[in-house]
Symmetry: C2
Subunit: 485 residues, 2 copies
């Protein structure tokens, strides 16, 4: 296998003895760049920025910096690079895999003050935003132009944070994931160099111009550089939308319906699956009376007559597979009512188990293996005596099982890790992946190796070490530091 | 900027004095692996494999190897690696940028005997093919299952060759490019290591599992490794298809219609633009009577009533922008007749200028800049006194202008290079790219630097040098060797 001179790297690391500390001198240097209002060492700020939505414990950074510009980011990176201080980029903290924890101390680069929407090109269906802009802010900005940025991971994430984890969500089946929707990014590398992955100001819909750096940085979880700007595809708001739901007597029948709908080439915008446990939680939370059975939630877009035709064909396919209670609607308020259960899954589960911490698995399998994977998940939950509410983006074969624990109870935490690992290994055995959209972060570093194998893992290590030779970019995430030394 | 120790690399290179030669001993070593039928040094085979469809002169390799398996490729790579012999992967030789020329001698790895269709998963809409399988062979295999692999660059390219240049073509506006349609690849690295970019046997529709190696190798043009297998997305053959054409009095009106159609969210399968020169060539070649004016060719897919509705809406938009002679059809033979001009562009141009060699430009611009880019292209052609037949995948802002020359006339060749460069710089000035789907190869190495800028170019160099430290993978392509030493 190709290798960089690891011996040199290891001795470099050791000769520096460890990462540099963020002492008063460093804080003062950073303060000279970003100003006193934009750097803090307060405990509350540090704790807030060392925590995400996951069950991984808070790992507070030594300082939190809020740059106002790419130049700020670059200058701060140069200081950190010359003192070998870890840098952890922070978007909105809505990640699920502990990606923002400062395992080795260092500086959190919190991007929320870079809020400029740089450019919207209505005729070209693209927009360029700075790192602090959330998907909601972008959508509010462009709605009146008849455009939307459809990638919807649920949380109010920042667009650049979504780049970082290669996020997707409910409508990936229609619009793809961030991989397919990012045209260009501005990235500050470990040594402070500013690059534009597709060239400054470029926004072609497609290109074969050299190596695809854009998609190398999408999904790199802050371990190769700080994403300071992204240019993304926009889409026209569809003329008409129809929502539908139907319940089934088995997971198999529900998923068979999904496969048939996909095979018919119905232009779905979303197709979501909730199991009985999840419907039960949603009924309680939102005061609904849905049948507590495996249920599909569908959404169609197109022309008014087109969505009607699609909904009727979908009904036929649902009923043919034993689907019951098929109902559909095109009016906004009725659609919202139909999909209410789906929209509130996460909160419904958290409310059903008050005081518990929820963790979301994220496996993805080829759709043909979805029924047996969901059944395996149920059985695993039964064995372990834990509830298993499931919500799935079934058009992609991706589903989430929400696992509950007391964060302070080590036995429960270990059980969740064990559950998550067993489910991931099962998904991998079916040709799937341990993570569809949440990333590796802290929690799945061993699963990454299982999934891609030694050759690809060594290649990833080479990429990491060549672009971040001092290992200061979000160290310990994606690839364990031990594997890099 | 981050750098590998170039001094060491340069001295390594110089101490080896140059690349190794493919002498009798090497041929014999390779013969021991692949057998005598699968290695040749005959002049005709060498010349054939040093040529593509471009105007770049033939650069014959020293030997042509036709591996039968990944293990063959790996073992041959190990020999080449230990003797520092260049390796140039060869698919079908249908490239446009001189990607297969053996600039520094070496071995051509011709993949056409690895013809296995490994797996087709009908319910999951994916297929895995070895490197020799062409897109036509794959489509013939899966048609009866109601599936197709829609990426259509025109030529009968191999699927893995299409991976290599990030190919696309007429229906990228609907299905995306190879970037969006490759799920996994088996790649043999420079030292013979076999990797699976997403892990062996994995075929999830989406994944956030570590760095996106799949899209690092897609579009790498054989400079990072040999692609030996690809897993690609398939799509359902649509229930109904409608084709339409309409002519316009100006490029501006034609392109305005495209933008409006895109904004309406009409689910187009293809939208192609031909200018007057191209229509003229096609009329002569195919004995048609199309009006010699800027013309749009459209294709819609969906349900029977859906495509009818789309065609009618498209007609309304065309007529609203001054479109004439709008006609549409749904029957296969009528559709073929309507699209005949579009299908035969390349041959029509070659037939119009017998004895001339044709070169295809490949710029892509944001759609809003398409009219002025096409006008610029016309003006440039006028200044230079050359014809400028144009065909464009206008939904993506990508178009090709076919330039004719006598290959032996150096003045004509230089004029074409000058034309191509000026057009590319104009496209870049509009935020576009010098290549939408043909790649960099030999012809656009300087344009790559112009397009991505120093920072991204240095990053690409780091990636190249870290994965191919002896620079044996297709040397001189994408990045000039001088930049790597």
């Amino acid at each position: 296998m190709l290798r960089l001179p690891t011996r040199t790297l290891r001795s470099t690391f050791r000769s520096l003895s460890s990462y540099g500390k963020v002492d008063d001198k460093i804080v003062s240097l950073i303060c000279n760049i970003v100003g006193p209002d934009n750097v803090t060492t307060s405990e509350s700020a540090r704790n807030l920025h060392g925590t995400d939505e996951s069950f991984h414990p808070t790992r507070a950074p030594e300082a939190v910096v809020t740059p106002l510009s790419t130049s700020h980011v670059s200058e701060v990176m140069k200081i950190c690079n010359s003192h070998r201080i870890p840098v952890i980029p922070f978007g909105t903290g809505t990640g699920f895999e502990g990606g923002v924890g400062a395992l080795y101390g260092g500086v959190c680069m919190a991007m929320h003050k870079m809020t400029e929407i740089v450019e919207v090109n209505q005729s070209d269906f693209d927009a360029t935003v700075r790192a602090g802009v959330t998907r909601h802010q972008l959508n509010d900005w462009i709605r009146a132009d008849g455009l939307h940025f459809p990638i919807d991971p649920g949380a109010g994430a920042s667009v650049c944070g979504m780049c970082s984890t290669s996020a997707s969500g409910t409508n990936a089946v229609r619009y793809g994931t961030m991989r397919e929707n990012v045209l260009n990014m501005e990235v500050v590398l470990a040594d402070g160099t500013v690059i534009h992955t597709a060239g400054e100001g470029r926004r072609p819909k497609k290109t074969s111009c050299g190596y695809n750096l854009t998609n190398l940085f999408v999904g790199s979880e802050g371990t190769l550089g700080v994403i300071t700007q992204a240019t993304v595809r926009l889409h026209g708001i569809p003329e008409a939308t129809a929502a539908a739901i139907s319940s089934f007597d088995s997971v198999q029948n529900a998923v068979d319906t999904v496969v048939m709908i996909l095979q018919c080439g119905l232009p779905l915008a979303r197709i979501e699956f909730l199991n009985s446990d999840m419907i039960s939680a949603c009924n309680k939370f939102s005061n609904l009376q849905l049948k507590e059975a495996p249920t599909l939630f569908l959404e169609f877009i197109g022309s008014p007559s087109g969505v009607e035709e699609q909904a009727m064909l979908a009904e036929e396919l649902c009923v043919g597979n034993g689907g019951e209670n098929f109902s559909w609607a095109t009016e906004h308020s009725e659609r919202e009512q139909l999909w209410k259960a789906r929209h509130n899954c996460w909160y419904a589960v958290k409310a059903t188990y008050p005081g518990k911490h929820a963790y979301s698995t994220d496996v993805v399998v080829p759709v043909s293996h979805l029924p047996e994977t969901v059944v395996f998940c149920h059985e695993l939950a039964g064995e372990m005596g834990v509830p298993a509410p499931i919500v799935g983006h079934v058009g992609d074969g991706n589903f989430h099982c929400f696992l509950l624990s007391n964060q302070d109870d080590e036995t429960e935490t270990l059980r969740i890790k064990d559950f998550s690992r067993k489910l991931a290994l099962k998904a991998q055995s079916f040709g799937g992946s341990c993570t569809g959209e949440h990333g590796i972060g802290l929690g799945k570093r061993e699963l990454l190796i299982e999934e891609v194998g030694t050759g690809a893992f060594e290649t990833m290590k080479i990429v990491k070490k060549s672009l971040d030779p001092l290992l200061i970019m979000n160290p310990g995430k994606v690839i364990d530091l031990d594997h890099l030394l």
